[in-house]
């Protein structure tokens, strides 16, 4: 029993850690896409933020400056996306792809030029990182059989970002469904003409959505390089931005279902790592690739309408042209 609990706590806390950047990116993508802008560039924004966070933290020794710089660079890329897609009505997918490819090259070029470690940044000391938080009472509860582990390792024992990510989900839900801004944002993603006719600026609404997306992806990137890990490494995001995109679609462009998808994809990843080389009774050895690929396969199946129906915002991908 004790062993099973320990195992469950291990898996679930790993799930939370893996899911954190997914949740942040998925919520960012949600704002962008609900306003009618496709965001393929989650991956690139997160990667740029991860690099800048680690670089800044290693030069200044301050984790908070690292986080600030990460948010700034993600916002800059978000504004670039907005400038191309909102102001110049460029192709949103092309813009996102451009940002991803550009960043995957730039982080290595600057990483090599500044740190000469094959694209890595120097390892950060604990002061320059966001370290796991020990909740009050962990010591006192440590010897209590089940509760001690759950309190210390599942509920506690994470860094600040994990809690921020979990908090952002209800905030996103509240903003989207319970505020005037959220209502307008959703409207601009469905029928921008109506919003325009009501005298509200379509461009400004979409720019605000893009800025929120930049903020969240910036936090997600900083999490990867200065909280979960102690340095930036090449291609650190490794497709997590795309998994977040998949999770957002899997959650049908709604906050809580998207959170569920992020946690599910995180759980799959945590299980995949645990199952490496393990023989499952009755099935034999499960190839890790099989579990790793499940988020993508499930998303394809969902989009094809085989499990429910995922309907994107109506005006998504269509540049808004104001009549003169």
């Amino acid at each position: 029993m004790e062993e099973a609990i320990t195992f469950a706590v291990l898996i679930l806390s790993a799930t939370l850690r893996v899911a954190t950047p997914l949740i942040l990116c998925a919520m960012g993508g949600l704002f962008s896409e609900r306003s009618g802008l496709i965001d393929i560039g989650l991956e690139g924004k997160m990667l740029a933020a991860a690099f800048v966070a680690a670089a800044t933290a290693s030069v200044t020794g301050s984790a908070w400056l690292g986080l600030g710089a990460a948010i700034l660079v993600a916002e800059a890329l978000a504004l670039l996306h907005g400038f191309a897609c909102i102001t110049h009505r460029g192709n949103q997918v092309v813009s996102g792809v451009a940002i991803n490819i550009l960043v995957s090259g730039l982080t290595i070029v600057f990483g090599m030029a500044w740190f000469q470690r094959g694209g890595q940044t120097p390892a950060l000391p604990p002061e320059a990182r966001f370290m796991p938080i020990t909740l009050p009472g962990t010591q006192a509860l440590a010897d209590v059989p089940v509760l001690g582990r759950i309190w210390g390792d599942l509920i506690g024992g994470h860094n600040l970002f994990v809690y921020v990510a979990l908090l952002i989900v209800p905030i996103t839900w509240w903003v989207l469904t319970r505020t005037r801004f959220g209502l307008r944002l959703r409207a601009v993603g469905e029928v921008p003409l109506a919003v325009d006719a009501a005298g509200i600026s379509v461009a400004w609404l979409r720019y605000r959505a893009v800025l929120i997306c930049g903020l969240f992806t910036g936090i997600a990137g900083a999490y990867l390089s200065i909280a979960q890990n102690a340095a930036f490494s090449r291609d650190m995001t490794a497709g997590q931005g795309y998994i977040a995109l998949a999770a957002m679609i899997f959650g049908k462009w709604r906050p809580f279902p998207a959170l569920g998808a992020c946690l599910m994809f995180g759980l799959l990843d945590a299980v995949a790592i645990r199952l490496q080389g393990v023989r499952v009774p009755g099935i034999g050895e499960v190839p890790v690739q099989f579990i790793q690929v499940l988020p993508y396969v499930l998303t394809v199946i969902l989009l094809a309408g085989f499990i429910g129906r995922a309907v994107a915002p109506k005006a998504i991908g269509v540049p808004y042209e104001k009549e003169h």
Partner: protein, 376 residues
């Protein structure tokens, strides 16, 4: 009311200015790394075309860019955005590998190579056909599905290479080497038969196939009824339906052709150079194809020119990182990203400037003519 721009500005000047803007930004980045951009350009040009081996390498890279550039362009003409070139190229290579590994002891070289090329086309096409089918008949978005299929392809390949196709006793995930029958001839070997000596390079017959593909795409798109239907669908799907085009079937056809073209990267890499199945031989060519297609304005001639430029950048960039350690090969990836940005997403960014410029010019010449008329 804005006057329309002259045609040569629209299709000639603006794209060139966009590319130049991309390179200005590249120059600034090179400067930020602490290297003189003009020195870098000189080293790159010498490294890309300065000696015969370099030209061989440049053309070998060019071959890959032509295949993926054509793949993206053909889909663009149908109004479809194929981001899945990477996965389709990967699967194309798998098709080549499976055919050669199965038959290289039994078939004569010509037949084996023909079958391998066919397999590259079929595997690439099949990998593109699924997202196409899902978009045409189930309503899922092709951009998202092709992205997902890139990841699925990568996972399938890792699984196959690590668990199934790995050569017995090998430590790294590679298949056994192909027998000689499964080698596409190198150009330097062919030239040696003709009595011309050229330094060794990975350049192989696949470049001839790439040239043929350019001709094929040009004939198909602009000189066949299917090409006409395909472009009609790309311009205006409703008009295409009204004209009797089965746009579902056309979507699948366009993506299959696109996937087959991307799959030929496997011919150049696996059949032409590596002569065994390996991991990650696609090395981003699928994504680079987007830059090539945008820069080449989706026309085979433009794609060949853009591919040559990218081939030079790839080879010159390798030499550059050799000479100046501060600059890494990934500078080429940065250039690709910037070209996609300036030639794709920001394609109309400079247009208002030109409209203003030509508007002013026209107003001025209008005044002079009016003045001239008054004098007369």
């Amino acid at each position: 009311m804005k006057a329309p721009l002259p045609g040569w500005v629209d299709i000639g000047l603006i794209p060139v200015v966009n590319v130049l803007l991309a390179f200005v930004v590249v120059g600034l980045i090179v400067l930020a790394v602490g290297v003189n951009p003009f020195t870098a350009v000189r080293i790159m040009i010498v490294g890309a075309v300065g000696y015969p081996e370099a030209i061989g390498y440049t053309l070998y890279y060019t071959t890959n860019f032509i295949f993926t550039g054509l793949a993206v362009a053909l889909a663009f003409h149908a109004g479809l955005f194929n981001i899945g070139g990477e996965g389709q190229a990967y699967l194309g290579g798998l098709g080549v590998g499976l055919v050669v590994l199965a038959l290289d002891a039994t078939l004569p070289p010509v037949l084996l190579i023909a079958l391998a090329v066919l397999a590259a086309a079929l595997f690439g096409a099949a990998w593109a056909a699924i997202p196409a089918y899902l978009q045409a008949y189930r309503g899922s978005h092709i951009v998202i599905t092709t992205i997902m299929f890139n990841f699925i392809a990568a996972a399938v390949m890792v699984y196959l290479m690590v668990n199934v196709l790995i050569a017995p006793g090998s430590m790294s995930p590679e298949s056994r080497a192909f027998a000689d029958a499964g080698h596409l001839p190198f150009i330097h070997d062919l030239l040696a038969y003709a009595g011309i000596t050229m330094g060794q390079s990975p350049l192989n017959l696949a470049i001839v196939w790439a040239a043929l593909c350019c001709v094929f795409v040009w004939v198909f798109l602009w000189h066949t009824p299917w090409g006409f239907e395909l472009r009609t669908m790309g311009h205006n799907p409703s008009a295409a339906i009204y004209a009797g085009v089965d746009i579902r079937r056309m979507t699948v056809l366009a993506m299959c052709l696109s996937g087959a073209l991307a799959g030929f990267v496997g011919v150049n890499e696996i059949l032409g150079v590596h002569h065994r199945l390996i991991l990650n031989f696609t090395a981003g060519y699928g994504f680079a194809g987007i830059a090539v297609a945008l820069m080449g304005r989706n026309h085979p001639v433009g794609i060949v020119l853009a591919s040559l430029l990218f081939g030079m950048l790839q080879q010159g960039g390798a030499e550059l990182s050799f000479d100046i350690p501060a600059i890494t090969r990934e500078m080429v990836v940065v250039i690709q990203g910037l070209i996609i940005l300036f030639c794709g997403a920001l394609a109309h960014f400079t247009r208002p400037w030109f409209e203003a410029l030509f508007g002013a010019l026209r107003a001025r010449s209008g005044r002079t003519t009016a003045a001239g008329a008054a004098e007369a």
